[in-house]
């Protein structure tokens, strides 16, 4: 594998909702430009909490998050777009009461004059959205919502995108579609970190993976190696459920 430029570094992160009850108990990872990295692990492992903590949505108690060497630990979430980080939540990642166009306008809240141009680019990239331009978000199907969420995140041209279970609630065919889009974004030079329950399908398209359990990393390595690792397969790839 060729050397990649590290975009995001997470070092010994401890985070959670209550000060005395950390959910992420000391997680470290790196994410390079052009990489698609997947975090898998059982329910309650702290995967979602980890990405939320990186995005500044969950309290960070210890550790460090750096973007291009710059400290962004416990960043105020509204500064994410300007810092070059996009975050796509698992649920509620679009505004259902706003029109598609208004959703994109909110996503470009921090942009000035470039906003109309960026929205036009988004419509070019996702022609379906243009068709529904003046419809409210709630009329979109699951797959279309995921595309809008992605279009919204891409509007500020992030270098790093964090995705919390982008395949949740989607049909298998749509999941493949979404994953291919994500692979394409990584290939275009962005750094993508995603949390997935759909572990096998996600790893098949990823460069590397981290296996999380009880708030920390248990195993990490190239995605292909994780897919072949009997321990990972047995515990996390659906052969046995662990609680």
């Amino acid at each position: 594998m060729s050397a990649v430029t590290t975009a995001l570094t997470v070092d010994g992160l401890v985070a959670g909702y209550a000060a005395d009850l950390p959910i992420v108990t000391g997680m470290s990872l790196t994410l390079g430009l052009g990489e698609l990295v997947t975090i898998i692990g059982p329910n309650g492992a702290g995967k979602s909490t980890l990405v939320k903590a990186i995005a500044g949505l969950v309290r960070v108690m210890d550790g460090r998050v750096a973007l291009d060497g710059r400290d962004i630990t416990a960043i105020a979430p509204h500064r994410l777009p300007q810092s070059g980080v996009g975050y796509v939540a698992q649920t509620g990642n679009i505004f259902t009461t706003l029109t598609i166009h208004e959703n994109l306008r909110v996503a470009g809240h921090t942009l000035g004059r470039e906003l109309p141009e960026r929205i036009a680019e988004a419509y070019d990239m996702f022609p379906d959205l243009k068709k529904y331009r003046d419809k409210r978000g709630r009329v979109l199907s699951g797959g279309q919502r995921q595309m809008l969420a992605l279009a919204m995140t891409l509007l500020c041209r992030p270098r790093v995108i964090l995705l919390d279970e982008p395949s949740a609630g989607l049909s298998p065919a749509i999941v493949q579609n979404v994953f291919r889009r994500l692979r394409g974004l990584a290939d275009s030079g962005l750094a993508l970190l995603m949390v997935e329950q759909n572990a096998r399908a996600a790893l098949e398209l990823s460069d590397r993976g981290y296996v999380m359990a009880e708030g920390a990393c248990r195993i990490d390595g190239p995605a292909s190696a994780l897919l072949e690792d009997p321990a990972v397969a047995e515990i996390y790839l659906g052969k046995r459920r662990v609680h």
Binding site: P77, H78, Q82, A89, N93, T96, V106, H109, C156
Partner: protein, 298 residues
Amino acid sequence: MGQVIADGILTGAIISLGAIGVTMTLGILRFANFAHSELVTWGGYFALMFVVFAGTAGESFGPLSFGWPFVAAILFAGVATALLALLVDMLVFARLRRSGAKEMTLVFASFGVALLLRHIIVVIFGAQAVYYTSALQIAVEILPGVRVMPDQILVLALTVLLVVGLHIVLRYTRLGIAMRASAESADLARVHGVDVRQIVRWTWAIGGGLAAAAGVFYGLTVQLRPEIGFALLLPLFTAALLGGSGSVYGAVIGGMIIGLSESLSTLIIPTGYKQAVPFMILLLVLYLRPRGLFGEAK
């Protein structure tokens, strides 16, 4: 009948302006602010302060009871009430939010704020009713049997203007769209770069400004009393809930329905029971359609 409807529309306009602030606080800050109607009272008295200090010298506009100085008084009241709302948020609600207080804590705090605000008015201005001007106005007949004061027509026109203005802000501007986005999901708005604290401040300022307009209009067409806010509390909340919490258009329509039904009720029940009408409507709304007419199903 025509007269009763005209009176109802006027009351409805004042309730609508107040209810917009209530529904915005419900939508964006997610709590029922029982102090909001006191901002209506303060708005009325801020205009009075301006009138007392600056005087109302100068010519009146045609048949209206006031001239340019009172226009300045209305603007002063709007800005001062918006600042008062921001001050209350800074001193009370923002601190509670930061400490992670639950919704009910904020609601009870708002009761305290309401009492405090109301009694400061009594301390400063006394408990008696006051008027902006002692000039008498001649009512004009706009339709056969329907007589209204010129001031009342102006109040209605200004209300329409304010509501249309707010509609334009919410529908088309960057701020308005961000406000609606924050009302639906503050976290999602945040990760897209919206500084929700700023949105909260605008919510207070706009709600306060509109409450001030309601107060001034009430003072202009009825009278100023320290209990205006207390008397409006129930109508404002009923209008907001009837319209659907968070829905500005719902609040306006809700306000009109409350104003008209209060007024029309006097045709069949004694006037003294008029104030029970919003209560009845509130009960019906909560029983039959708790999310209101235009509320989003949750």
